[in-house]
Symmetry: C2
Subunit: 200 residues, 2 copies
DNA sequence: AGCCACAAGCTAATAGCCTTAGCTTTTGGG
DNA sequence: CCCAAAAGCTAAGGCTATTAGCTTGTGGCT
């Protein structure tokens, strides 16, 4: 009998496809094994059990999201950059709801690789807000506010938390525009202009 | 042997306590049964399986959150009301992280009771924003924005998404104050704002 | 007070999942 | 061409939920 030719990468990608289709709760070794036509224990040759698989998928999602955000922001600055990043953020969550949900689990303190990858989206947002003159001590707060707004909207939306389906695009646009104005009037932004980028 | 004296209410409350202590993932019929010193199938006399238990806990959380928000808002208006509600929202999520996580699952379309209870928090937020002159078609968008900001912050925070623990209170305050300003300058709210103070 | 029907709790059994142990077989490099 | 490591397998054990059907406590009615 021929081998399936698995690899950690392939397993994680198939799992990601599974949860994008069926939701994060559908993630199980059994379901992934079935997709490959393979026995469940075989997956242990490529992935550290269910916990390991979850980690891989989260990493994959974080890397993809970081890349999308970076791409969206390149060549733009100020409000345009913020709008582009916000749109890319939501677009990713729509295209890959399972991955997006999976990457919300914070990595362990000792998992340096995961922490590094998870930091990329935050770095992009930090850079975008730096273009508004928000840096130094205020950067942390502003980035947290931005992440809250984007994640909160997308999370509620993908969970079906918005009962009326019609105006969701408009709602998001208003949220983003409101945030643009808020960030333009950010308190103490002028004095903090000389600060450096810090992790939030 | 004496009976345990369970009831749907007691079971849901014990489950809520469990997940506040150990996280939503720790919710299982087995864990709840153990807490009561009871066999697992006994719980089926009070709750419709695991899915039913989850629903009960979500309902409990939504009812509690709605009540807290209402209480926080009473007697206040405008920015003060918004600040009070925002503080109560985060306070509830801190005090009951498991319940808060549980109530994020949207109820089914046919579950009228759950939909009604889940609507209470939204109603309170809507009322608070109405105090800013935001009503009509804009209300939906503004409430969504507010929910996104509050939920996003609290969700990221309780998931450990904010790496630096020190300034989280300040971050939230800045987010809320930013939202207060955003809502004071909300577009298209002018016509509905006849009765409130507005800088010209 | 006593009885009895119903509710509350139990045991047994089934099915699905994850995990570890240990075996077989493919496969690619020397 | 061979053979060791990697890839996949079966077997087994433990956890979970769920259903079926039994036993027993208890409150209400006479």
């Amino acid at each position: 009998m021929p081998r399936a030719g698995l690899s950690p990468r392939l397993v994680a990608e198939e799992a990601a496809r599974l949860i994008d289709e069926q939701g994060l709760d559908a993630l199980s070794l059994a379901a992934v094994a079935k997709r490959f036509g393979v026995a469940v224990p075989s997956l242990y040759k490529h992935v550290h059990g269910l916990a390991g698989l979850r980690r891989e998928v989260a990493l994959l999602g974080a890397a993809e999201l970081g890349e999308r955000l970076r791409t969206a922001a390149t060549g733009l600055a100020g409000p345009d950059a913020l709008r582009a990043v916000a749109a890319a953020y939501r677009r990713y969550a729509h295209a890959h709801p399972g991955r997006y949900a999976a990457l919300q689990r914070a990595p362990g303190d000792d998992d340096h690789e995961a922490r590094k990858v998870s930091a990329v989206p935050v770095e992009v947002l930090t850079a975008v807000l730096a273009g508004f003159g928000i840096g130094g001590g205020q950067a942390v707060h502003a980035v947290r506010a931005l992440r809250s707004a984007l994640h909160g909207f997308v999370d509620l939306e993908t969970r079906g938390g918005f009962g009326l389906p019609e105006d969701v695009d408009e709602s998001y646009e208003l949220l983003v525009e409101g945030f643009v104005r808020a960030v333009q009037n950010w308190p103490d932004a002028a004095s903090a202009r000389a600060g450096t980028v810090r992790p939030t």
